[in-house]
């Protein structure tokens, strides 16, 4: 009995005497904190990659606003892609689509990306086991990315808040609310960062197998050229639409009302430097010359392959910057029409729902290298009449197939870029162009028609250019895709920027023609002087700066079609108001015979107003930050 008493007392006292504080001190000392990221090179590398991870996913149909927010692709009614809601006129202040400011509705959070870059820049010097050179290089990469993110936001929102330094998490209310900086300052800051990065970036990637895709000096110079061309373009240079617009502090945010020719001069210099650097590093326009190919193919197909593969062959010599963090896997399935292989019509892995509207099909040149409206040899008025394809068309249109004249006598880029009813589709398992190649047939009841409500082309066109010719459609639901890092910038783009800047600064001339013709030559069309003087209805157009501007612009829209450039180009040229108020037109898909099918049908009437040049600021941001006000018109 006494023993029990003792036991119970011991338990009681022992428990009470237990050291409470030690008992609760359970967190080990070396729990991971952000400081750990910079204790070793390997973790610092992860942090660098984290900075990279905010690059917008241009190769994703839903992650890149440029694909569907404009007029380049139209989608089936059921599609919920946030960017497409912008194209449909549903952009709003409440829950804005492709909201890169806050990182939702399809977008990445770029201010978060900028903060990560700043953390990296603040701490990289602490890493003990890195060489000076490596620290400098990584710093340069982070700076470039920080600049790129600022540029991306500026291009979308106009004036933005510049984040030079991180504001501490626990900062008071007076510090956490930044004001927006005028547009010019935003561009300058992005360029400043890119300039700072140049000194320590490698000219080219040494160990390609592990580092391809990292930022090089060539990339930085090219993007800097792109940024400066954007800043010099009409939207940001001499745009008085937003004149007098001030923020609550009275700052004139759109300080771009008066045209400043020096912006073009600065852009031209940057373009020249970038072109020289790219060429010095061995970048050339791509042409299809495989060391080994099993078939002797015709020149027609070879030209097509040069055009298609300039985008869809990974790390071809033309690619300056390929985004390894955004591979073109899913987008190729979205671009490939269903039933291309008639034995596999049940295979729905080829979703084929990216539908370029009729206006994109009409954008491409004739085989004389001229707009369809400008070519004397091409019957513009008859373009919707029908014609049966004969033998000489066999590499373009299925022999004996009836289709509209619009599809005849077009430039190689038309056939390389677009799939259409009756159009030959080279590759995808059939490589011998002397035998029967695949072709698209999309009238009602045919393989590429709408078999369900979610995955079909609403216009009757497909962006063939994005599809690597090696992809194979198998049985069941198998579609084997040769993926490629989506091109962020390639040499043709740079050439056309250069030509554009040359024309703006010096007007038409040999140098302008030269860079244009380099691109046209690869595209398999006559040079610009010949085309316009020999076949066009306005041969003098190439002599004027304005005429040349239009020619360069169309060249750019054609060459870079479906690569996510048209959307931004139309904006910076202030052409969106014109183009994005046109209807989206496609063929009458639910018809079985050619005469009924080939009736242009208005799918959607797009609307675009001045305010749409810039994204609305998220309403929730304005509610907390009283130093900002809404963009004009929203």
């Amino acid at each position: 009995m006494k023993i029990i008493k003792k036991i119970s007392l011991t338990v009681l006292l022992g428990a009470s005497a237990f050291s409470c504080n030690n008992f609760l001190e359970i967190v080990p000392d070396n729990i991971a904190t952000i400081e750990h990221a910079f204790n070793m090179r390997s973790t610092a590398e992860r942090f660098l990659f984290t900075c990279y991870s905010y690059i917008p996913a241009l190769g994703s149909l839903s992650g890149n606003p440029a694909h569907t927010a404009g007029d380049e692709f139209w989608l089936p009614q059921d599609n919920g892609t946030p960017a497409w809601q912008i194209a449909r006129g549903n952009q709003n202040v409440v829950n804005s689509y492709m909201n890169y400011w806050q990182g939702n509705q399809g977008a990445k959070d770029l201010y978060e990306g900028i903060r990560q870059c700043n953390i990296f820049l603040d701490n990289i010097e602490r890493v003990p086991d890195m060489t000076r050179e490596e620290k400098d290089r990584w710093t340069a990469e982070a700076k470039f990315l920080k600049g790129y993110y600022h540029f991306w936001l500026t291009r979308m929102y106009g004036p933005i808040a510049i984040i030079r330094e991180n504001i501490p998490v626990a900062a008071g209310a007076d510090k956490v609310y930044p004001a927006r900086a005028p547009v010019s300052e935003c561009f300058d800051y992005a360029v400043e960062l890119m300039d700072e990065s140049l000194a320590h970036l490698p000219d080219r990637i040494e160990t390609e197998v592990s580092e391809m895709g990292r930022i090089t000096k060539t990339i930085a110079l090219s993007m800097k050229a792109y940024v400066l061309v954007t800043a010099a373009s009409p939207l940001f240079n001499g745009n008085s639409d937003y004149a007098g617009y001030q923020d609550p502090q009275g700052t004139n945010l759109f300080d771009i009302a008066s045209f400043d020719p020096s912006k073009w001069e600065r852009a031209l210099a940057a373009c020249r430097e970038a072109v020289e650097q790219a060429e010095a590093m061995g970048h050339r326009l791509y042409t299809f010359r495989p060391e080994f190919f099993q078939y002797e193919i015709s020149d027609t197909i070879r030209t097509q392959m040069s055009i298609r593969n300039a985008v869809a062959e990974k790390w071809n010599q033309e690619i300056i910057w390929g985004n390894t963090l955004s591979l073109s896997q899913s987008i190729q399935a979205d671009a490939t029409p269903r039933g291309l292989d008639p034995t596999q019509t049940a295979n729905s892995a080829t979703r084929g729902l990216m539908a370029p509207p009729l206006k994109i099909a009409e954008l491409f040149y004739t085989d004389k290298g001229l707009p369809i409206t400008a070519d004397n040899t091409w019957a513009y008025g008859d373009r919707y009449n029908l014609k049966i394809a004969n033998t000489e068309d066999r590499l373009h249109i299925k022999e004996g197939y009836t289709t509209v004249r619009l599809h005849y006598n077009r430039e190689p880029r038309f056939y390389a870029s677009l799939g259409f009813d009756g159009g030959i589709w080279y590759g995808q398992g059939r490589f011998n162009d002397k035998e029967n190649l695949f072709f698209v047939s999309s009238k009602k009841g045919q393989p590429a028609t709408a078999q369900n409500l979610t995955a079909y082309s609403v216009t009757g066109y497909w962006p063939k250019k994005l599809v690597n010719f090696n992809n194979v459609i198998g049985s069941g639901s198998s579609y084997t895709i040769q993926s490629y890092p989506f091109p962020m910038i390639r040499l043709a783009d740079l050439y056309l920027l250069y030509a554009e800047a040359l024309n703006e600064v010096h007007g038409p001339g040999a140098e302008v023609f030269n860079y244009l013709n380099l691109v046209r030559e690869r595209a398999g069309i006559p040079n610009v002087e010949n085309s316009w003087t020999l076949y066009s209805n306005s041969p003098g157009k190439i002599a004027s700066k304005e005429g040349m501007r239009e020619i360069i612009q169309q060249e750019r829209l054609i060459e870079l079609a479906f690569e996510g450039q048209r959307y931004w180009d139309l904006r910076r040229w202030k052409k969106a108001g014109e183009e994005l108020n046109k209807p989206i037109v496609g063929w009458d898909l639910i018809q079985e015979d050619a005469p009924s099918y080939y009736r242009p049908k208005v799918i959607f009437q797009q609307k675009f107003s001045t305010r749409d040049y810039f994204w609305p600021l998220p309403e929730s941001e304005l509610l907390s930050n009283k130093k900002m006000n809404q963009n004009p018109g929203w």
Binding site: M1, K5, S8, L9, A15, S16, C20, N21, L24, E25, I26, V27, I31, A32, T33, I34, T43, R46, T50, Y52, Q77, D78, G80, Q85, N90, N92, V93, V94, N95, Y111, E112, G113, I114, R115, Q116, V169, A170, V176, P178, S210, E211, G213, K314, T324, L325, L327, A346, S348, L453, T454, S475, G476, S477, I603, P618, S620, E621, L623, S624, N625
Partner: protein
């Protein structure tokens, strides 16, 4: 006398081996047998001589020990009742004598004992001193009339252990046996007092009767009752805090889930049930509503002192529950300072009682069926309206169904080519059967007592089983519990209690779960394909089922999903507990100590076995011959064999230690003083934590205390405190001190109340105020630390020509902030307890609560900061208030008729006092402050747009496309746009503010009937406009969205009947203009789809029959009760689409209506 002698002869166990039966012993035996005095007869017939010398050396020995020693040495038999020898002083003496009289005289000097030595028979009779001498008294008893009878509770169950006493002669008494029977010899004109803890005392004059049967009413108004409070018990009349107790029998419902019985039965509890799926049907419950918008809102659940989950509570058998209390205010919960802020549910399980083994068995079989089914439109309407949905939005749109298909379907041309699939019928049965068994055994002796209980419940789902499979894909939840409570008296002042309990769930069921399948049925197309095709000539040799599908087999076939496999899960919760109770009155009177150790182990795992269905479609339809060919979609991916997939595994162990010192003493009959000091320590560890921080042990330590003082049973004062530490906080904010105090006044015990005593026998007022804490304020651990993920694949990068070099990134999900600390609730309670005419008990409480330091996200941080995680801080404040009351009515009539009625009511509301949000200068209606927690903000829906033109002219609505027939919202701030600034508070909170219940029980002789109604009010819910939108692909989660499976919502009949169409431009139609895609405009939270959650339902009815004791005896059972009961039999509500209690969850597994037959037998 003759009769008695015969009886004695029959039962004389001592007949054998006895040379001459002696008359006095005979008489004693008769007395024992008839009066049921618990005599322990200890006979030791010694062969030794008489004049032996007796040697006694007693050191701190009890009287019993002394008696045994004398018995051993002398061979005398001692006859006594154990109770008479209890609580006597210890003996310290040394005797040496030949005379037993001398020895006894010395031994019992100063003790209140009489003794008689019958030398001839070698018997000593020991008895407490009474007015009568012991022998006289016994003889007196013998001549008195005997009263016998049966005591039952209101449910008709016999009550063992009821004390039966004669009024004013407390020495005469007995208690009922395990059958609830008693027999007692009483003086003439005696009045019997029947009393038992938890029941209302009854006084019945004998009036010459020989049989008196009594129904004891368990009630909440037990003056003199004992209430289980934090770390102890208090007399009901001493409790100052707000505590609701319930007779556990009232929680008995025909369900395997105790939580479903809470609503309306306990004043102060807000409870509702959203699903009827076995295993997923826990009700949500909150004590006095929700007063925080922090992380943990639900109460602390303590079963035998151990913190457990709602599921553990759900599995508890009401038959095993000894007490069930709800701690509502600060003084009641202060001792649980760490977790008490949301209220505490305190449950103790039964312990064994001395006596023969008593076995009780309960058997139940019930039929359950959905209370209300969601009605779907017929397939033809579905097709027509789907076409309408496409055309009305896009006149050029591609029609999903051709006229030919519709016509052929109507004609029923071919059921496989033009299928009409009633998925609900394919998958679900109309009803299912469930079984429950539980039994318990209790008993014990003077040293040890035991209570062992076990139960087995089988709950089945309403899913159909495909006979071609040899496995059961229906929900089959078997839950077992086993509980063993053993009390051991180590010494007269030391008690050891061992409690072992286990609860085990074995589940097999569909992979998607019941609710998942209900949701799938609501999202599949009724005319695309049948559930499966019959085997045709071409597929004669195929071993698998030919499941229907379309388009590569990417469409949803819920039937295939249901029958393609099954999931097993197993859930185990084991607890082992050791408790010591030590009376320390040898140190100072009234001092006790207690120590309790508990360890619990929790294990959960699931495994999934399934085949991949082969999907076919009837294609190549030949109109002329009406034939089709089956096309197989997934030859490569389908399997005929089962694949195995391991699932989640959770293991958890926890340890709890509690030690307490208790002091309780009354001085000078008027001053009662008590004190309690408790130390507690809790630690638990999870075996499969997601990250390092989660893997660290969860710990709490605390010191809590209580001091009470009462004067003359009139004035009561109480002070409590909890001083608690939690590992969750930085060491500078680790400990919280939570004091509380209360006062009570028993007005009816005042002298001046005497005149009113007849009408109002009891009246009591109480008031308390205090602080309680809550450390479960965020779902993360260690909110003061940053949480960094050094291997975040979502933030990584990949480089290289062939993407060969990839590294994960680094991300952060929380920033460090050492200032994060306790959430605190300041609670005030004012209570009134009253009894009227000894029949009506009223208990009412008014309460307020001020919750501060609620952790909330700092919403003011702009996105330009670029933070990876939103910082949180202890900013929020909420004020809560409300009332709860219960009224009980009990009346037993002389003619075996009794009536009981009760009402419970709880109203709890809250409002935000501090809530960080943007300064809505121009839209003050957006501000949370002043509105209840759970208040929803949304748009005011004016009506539907007349046409597109009106839509264009009206303020722009920024949620996607809209036009005629879509919902028109009110532009509250008049800025010409509908934006988030136009959201206003709409409706009631989503948690009901009023929950109430009322019911009655009546009994007449062997029959009893009870009914209970329950309802709630002041709750709003929203019809999910996305989940119910016809024809739309709705995904409940990302996994569904990314699965590649095509979902297509079904069409509710109600929507088919009443929607806007171009022909019928009903501006107030139930559903706006149809659409084949989700219309984001219409699915905004608005008043359009807001519904009132108000309902009243007949929650339960029970009709019982208790076998008359005479019949029961013949059947060799003690009691037998047969009963039929039902749950959720009727509901009154304005909402008709589904069971209103499911609120927004209406497309899930329906709440069940249950019809039940039960049998209760005890042996």
């Amino acid at each position: 006398m003759l009769n008695l002698t015969i009886k004695c002869m029959q039962f004389n166990l001592f007949e054998k081996g006895r040379r001459s039966p002696w008359p006095f012993a005979k008489m004693l035996l008769v007395m024992k047998l008839t009066a049921m005095l618990m005599l322990i007869v200890s006979l030791h017939v010694s062969a030794g001589g008489f004049a032996q010398k007796i040697q006694l050396n007693l050191r701190n020995a009890s009287v019993v020990e002394a008696v045994r020693e004398i018995q051993n040495q002398t061979g005398y038999a001692f006859l006594y009742t154990r109770d008479d020898l209890r609580g006597l002083d210890k003996l310290n003496l040394s005797i040496s004598s030949r005379s037993i009289e001398t020895v006894l005289n010395k031994c019992f000097t100063g003790l209140p004992l009489d003794y008689v030595v019958e030398k001839a028979e070698k018997v000593v009779i020991l008895k407490r001193k009474t007015a009568l001498g012991p022998l006289n008294r016994i003889r007196h008893l013998f001549q008195q009339p005997t009263v016998h009878g049966l005591v039952v509770d209101t449910a008709g169950l016999p009550l063992p252990g009821v004390s039966v006493m004669v009024k004013d002669q407390t020495s005469i008494g007995t208690s009922t046996d395990i059958n609830g029977r008693y027999s007692l010899q009483v003086p003439e004109n005696a009045t019997l007092i029947f009393s038992m803890v938890g029941f209302q005392e009854q006084q019945i004059p004998v009036n010459g009767r020989t049989e008196i049967n009594i129904v004891l009413e368990g009630s909440t108004s037990q003056l003199g009752d004992v209430v289980v409070v934090a770390f102890g018990k208090q007399k009901k009349e001493e409790v100052v805090g707000a505590v609701t107790t319930i007779n556990p029998a009232e929680l008995k419902v025909p369900s395997s889930n105790l939580t479903t019985a809470l609503a309306g039965r306990l004043a102060g509890v807000i409870a509702y049930q959203r699903s009827g799926e076995p295993g997923q049907d826990n009700a949500d419950f909150f004590i006095r509503g929700v007063t925080t918008f922090g992380y943990k809102k639900d109460p602390l659940i303590l079963i035998d002192g151990i913190e457990l989950t709602a599921t553990d509570l759900a599995r508890l058998q009401p038959d095993d529950v000894a007490s069930f209390s709800i701690m509502k205010d600060a003084t009641a919960t202060a001792l649980y300072g760490a977790r008490g802020a949301n209220g505490v549910i305190l449950i103790t399980t039964k312990e064994g009682k001395e006596g023969k083994a008593a076995i009780t068995v309960r058997l139940e079989n019930s039929i359950s069926t959905p209370t209300r089914d969601v009605e779907l439109a017929d397939p033809i309407t579905y097709m027509r309206l789907h076409n309408e949905a496409v055309l009305t939005r896009d006149p050029l749109g591609i029609l999903p169904y051709s006229d030919q298909k519709i016509e052929n379907t109507i004609q029923g041309v071919n059921p496989y080519v033009f299928p009409v699939t009633d998925w609900k019928k394919e998958l679900f049965k109309d009803y299912t059967m469930n079984q429950r068994v539980n039994m318990n055994v209790s008993g014990g002796g003077s040293v040890a007592r035991y209570y062992v209980a076990g139960s087995f419940n089988q709950d089945n789902g309403v899913l159909k089983v495909d006979q071609r499979n040899n496995f059961n894909n229906n929900i089959d939840l078997k839950s077992y519990t086993l509980r063993s409570n053993v009390n051991v008296n180590l010494t007269p002042i030391t008690e050891m209690v061992i409690r072992l309990s286990g609860s085990f769930d074995d589940y097999t069921g569909p992979i998607d779960g019941g609710a998942g399948l209900y949701r799938k049925v609501m999202r599949t197309n009724p005319v695309m394909f049948p559930a499966y095709y019959p085997v045709d000539e071409e597929h004669r040799y195929v071993q698998h089922t030919l499941f229907g599908n379309f388009e590569d087999g990417r469409y949803l076939n819920p039937y295939a999903d249901m029958v393609r496999g099954y999931m097993n899960y197993s859930r185990t919760n084991l607890g082992a507990q050791l408790e010591f109770k030590q009376n320390l009155s040898f140190l100072t009177e009234g001092l006790k100590a207690r120590a309790l150790m508990n360890t619990s182990r929790y294990v959960y795992f699931d495994v999934t076995r399934a085949y991949n269905p082969f999907y076919y479609h009837a294609g190549s339809y030949d109109k002329v011959n009406n034939t089709y060919r089956l096309q197989l979609f997934n030859e490569d991916t389908g399997t005929e064999y089962l694949n195995y997939q391991p699932g989640a595994k959770t293991v958890n162990s926890s340890f709890y230690l509690e030690s307490a010192l208790n002091y309780d003493r009354t001085f000078a009959d008027k001053h009662t003083l008590s004190g309690l000091l408790v130390f507690m320590l809790r630690s638990s560890l999870t075996g499969n934590a997601e990250d390092l921080q989660q893997s660290l042990p969860f710990r709490n330590v605390g010191l809590a205390g209580r001091a009470t003082y009462s004067y003359d049973n009139r004035y009561f004062a109480e002070f409590n405190f909890g001083y608690n530490g939690s590992e969750r906080f930085h060491h500078t904010h680790r400990y919280g001190f939570f004091p509380s105090a209360g006062l009570a006044w028993s007005v009816s015990n005042e002298a001046f109340w005497e005149p009113l005593k007849q009408a109002v026998p009891s009246l009591r007022l109480r008031g308390t105020y205090g602080l309680v804490g809550n450390d479960a304020i965020g779902d993360g651990r260690f909110l003061y630390l940053s949480n960094v993920n050094m291997n975040d694949s979502g933030r990584g990068g990949v480089f290289g020509t062939d993407n060969g070099y990839s590294r994960d990134g680094i991300s952060l999900s929380r920033y460090a902030d050492p200032n994060i600390t306790w959430e605190t609730a300041a609670k005030t309670n004012i209570g009134l307890e009253m009894n009227l005419f000894d029949q009506i008990d009223i208990q009412a409480d008014y309460f307020t609560e001020h919750r501060t330091n609620i952790l909330m996200q700092r919403t003011a941080t702009p996105a330009t900061m670029g933070l990876l995680a939103q910082p949180h801080a202890n900013i929020g404040e909420v004020k809560g208030k409300g009332i709860d009351f219960s009224i009980d009515y009990n009346k037993a009539f002389q003619n075996s008729f009794w009536l009981q009625g009760r009402v419970n009511f709880t109203y709890a509301t809250s409002k935000y006092l501090v809530y960080e949000e943007p300064a809505y200068d121009e839209a003050p209606w957006k501000l949370h402050v002043g509105f209840p927690v759970g208040q929803q903000w949304g748009y005011i829906a004016e009506r539907l747009f007349v046409d597109d033109e009106e839509a264009l002219k009206s303020p722009r609505q920024n949620f996607g496309e809209y036009g005629g027939g879509d919902i028109k919202f009110h532009d509250v701030n008049g800025d010409g746009q509908i934006t988030a600034l136009d959201q206003v508070p709409i409706g009631y909170p989503t948690t009901p503010e009023i929950v109430y219940g009322f019911g009655f029980s009546v009994g007449y002789r062997a029959f009893d009937l009870s009914a209970f109604f329950q309802g709630l009010a002041r709750e709003s819910f929203w019809i999910d406009a996305s989940a119910t939108a016809p024809f739309v692909a709705y995904h409940y989660n990302d996994a569904e969205a990314n699965s590649g499976i095509i979902y297509q919502n079904a069409l509710l009949q109600a929507y088919a009947n009443d929607h806007w169409s171009e022909e019928n431009r009903n501006l107030y139609a139930l559903w706006p203009r149809l659409s084949s895609t989700n219309n984001n405009n219409n699915s905004q939270r608005s008043t359009w789809f807001m519904r009132d959650g108000l309902f009243l339902r007949l929650k339960s009815v029970e009709l019982g029959y208790n076998l008359p004791p005479a019949v029961a005896q013949r059947l060799k059972v003690k009691t037998l009760r047969l009963y039929a009961s039902g749950t959720n039999l009727m509901t009154w509500s304005k909402f008709k689409l589904w069971d209103v209690e499911m609120a927004g969850n209406g497309l899930g597994y329906p709440i069940q209506k249950v019809y039940n037959l039960g049998l209760l037998v005890s042996f």
